[in-house]
Amino acid sequence: MTHPWPVAITGLGCICAAGTNLDDCMEALYSGRRAPAPSSRFTSDHPIKNPVFEVTGFCEPPELLRTSALGLQAAREAIADAGLDEETLRSLRVGVCVGTTVGSAMNNEQFCRDYRAGLDPDLAPIERILRSNPAAVIARAFELTGPCQTVVNACASGTDAVGLAASWIRGGICDIVIAGGADELGRITYNGFISLMITDDSPCKPFDKNRKGLNLGEGAGMLVLESEEVRARRGKEARSFLLGYGSACDAHHLTAPKPDGEGLRYAIAEALSCSATPTESIAFVNAHGTGTPDNDRVESRVLADLLPGVPFLSTKGYTGHTLGAAGAIEAVFTVACLERGRVPGNAGFSTPDPELGGTPVEGCLEISGTVALSESLAFGGNNSVIILGKRGAV
């Protein structure tokens, strides 16, 4: 690896079921508040209505997919947090790198239903998809001139987008990158995950012995990554630093993690190596922790092997599994926890599972370290890990 230097994070934004901005989200996490419920936005034929984590009080404009509108909202918060105005953004080479799963999929159900029924459906839903590429929407909104990339690495997309964005900064491709992830809830993913039999019909219980699966969620997390040159010129202090990124593929199965967690081990090793972070410096791990039997078993065993004794938690008990947004939302939460010196309890956990490699953080936990690790596992065997350090860590 030839890139040992950290990349500054100067702005954060988040919207999910836990709150419509980062402060509200953190307040909900620390107070243990969560409210999964059957969707208010779509119905299903399934006799049992699985709970989901919807963003309430948010309405997307008719010309955009909800995914892109959520991403744009989080980007606006992150940009404001970074103290960047539109004129400054237009004067710099600013890129956008966003992870998603549904944000670029040509899968409007009503259109297909009408087409299948022999009609010539209105093209408006398709045109909405075509102008809603999540990265392009943010770039257009701020007239950004840099590269755009929408990462579709399934549930690792958000983590990968943040890691790739840091590479663009280090490579001199961009002065600033707005990076993160966004995804919306909908019938297609809802029915898809139920068909795979990896959902829980009650509130999800990551790392618990009685876990049955995941609850879906929606939202977006965005980070502003900035070059040292621009940050110094602006006199802007970093909120934190992206210290390392690693990713690897299991090359094992389309939807299940490799039982020995080989890809995740590679990804953690790469992230630690390129950040030159000793394992004893890791204050906590924001785990993927979906609440599915397979994910939590593999993930906890790998953590027990590679980072023994390091506290870990899943925040999906507060947000649901927001798919392509998850890694980005969790990166934002990780930075916020480092800043506050405190991690929330792992919502939904009550009974230890002897098959797992350990038990997650049960209640709010004070932490004194300055570095944390956030990881995502995904369909396709993707494993992605980022290491974040608070301001004093660099």
Binding site: N107, D120, N133, T145, C148, T150, S167, R170, H253, L254
Partner: protein
Amino acid sequence: MRMAVKGIGVTGGFGCGVAALSAALENGISPMEGITVPSAQGPLQLPAFRAPTERLEEFVPKRSLRRIDHYSRMGLLGAYLAIQDAGLLGSDLSRLGVVIASGYGATATTFSFLDSIIGDGDICASPTHFANSVHNSAAANISIMLGAKGPSLTVSQFDMSVPSALMSARQWLAEGRVEAVLFGAIDELSDLIGYLWHRQRGPQRDRPISPLNADEESSVIGEGAAFLLLTREDESGGYCAIDSVETGSLYQGRLALPEDALLVLGADGRKELGARYRDTIQANSRVACYASLYGSMPAAAAFDLACAALVLQNGSAYRIPGAAGCAMDGTAAALETDRIFAVRLAEANEYAKTTLSRL
């Protein structure tokens, strides 16, 4: 850092493999196939460029392909051909990086999943179709088949998917994350994609694309996969080098392009983009475009790169099918430069330029 193109694997309207693409470039023609898609007015006959996948059985036992859809099969074939072309078939590929670009992903499987819900109800949603409809399904299948356990990335940026993904592939090599990247682009022509093309573009005519004619719509939809095996430049040669990749949006000013290089344009007969190319490219530029050999699709940008690599390796450009008589007559003369700029423009103000040169 310069990347070296060590291997090329392609399947598209021209056939399968480098030899077929070279022959199509020499002859200036690829066979168009008709496809039939349902519509409210009855079955629609559309001209199209389809990609064959039969040769995949040279690399993968037939039984292993039972659950693999056409989208992933195209990707697998492109991947194996590129690996073979680079002389790496049978090598240890465990640290290979995989980067895939796709404008629309596995559309037929996505629609099949929707069909399972619409036809039989939510309870009958197909788990197999759902798992294979995920955008990174081809990357996953390729990694599984090849045993590639390095980083894996799939990018979907519509028309800009290829240059955007290529930029990240280059970064992986520049940062030393991997020694080699299998870079590929895949797009699939499904019934619904064909139908949408017809709805958006009007009746399709069974005639060659006029890629540089901005006055009328002449696009023909295509499908296929184009893969490049990329490494950092070394002493062992290859087709050509990729010097740089730049993508972004222009809100003011002009796209800066050199006068001494051949420009391989992504123009593909779409009227609105033809106008953008006409307004962007100076009239005296030496241009080539080869979409007439594989059709319109976001993945075509990777075919453009494969063509540019062959041009650089062979030392001569190929005439542009369908270019005669157009305002920007770019019938490519003998190549007098050792650099090619692959230029791609998309809606609004997006652009990409990739610089390729001789090794």
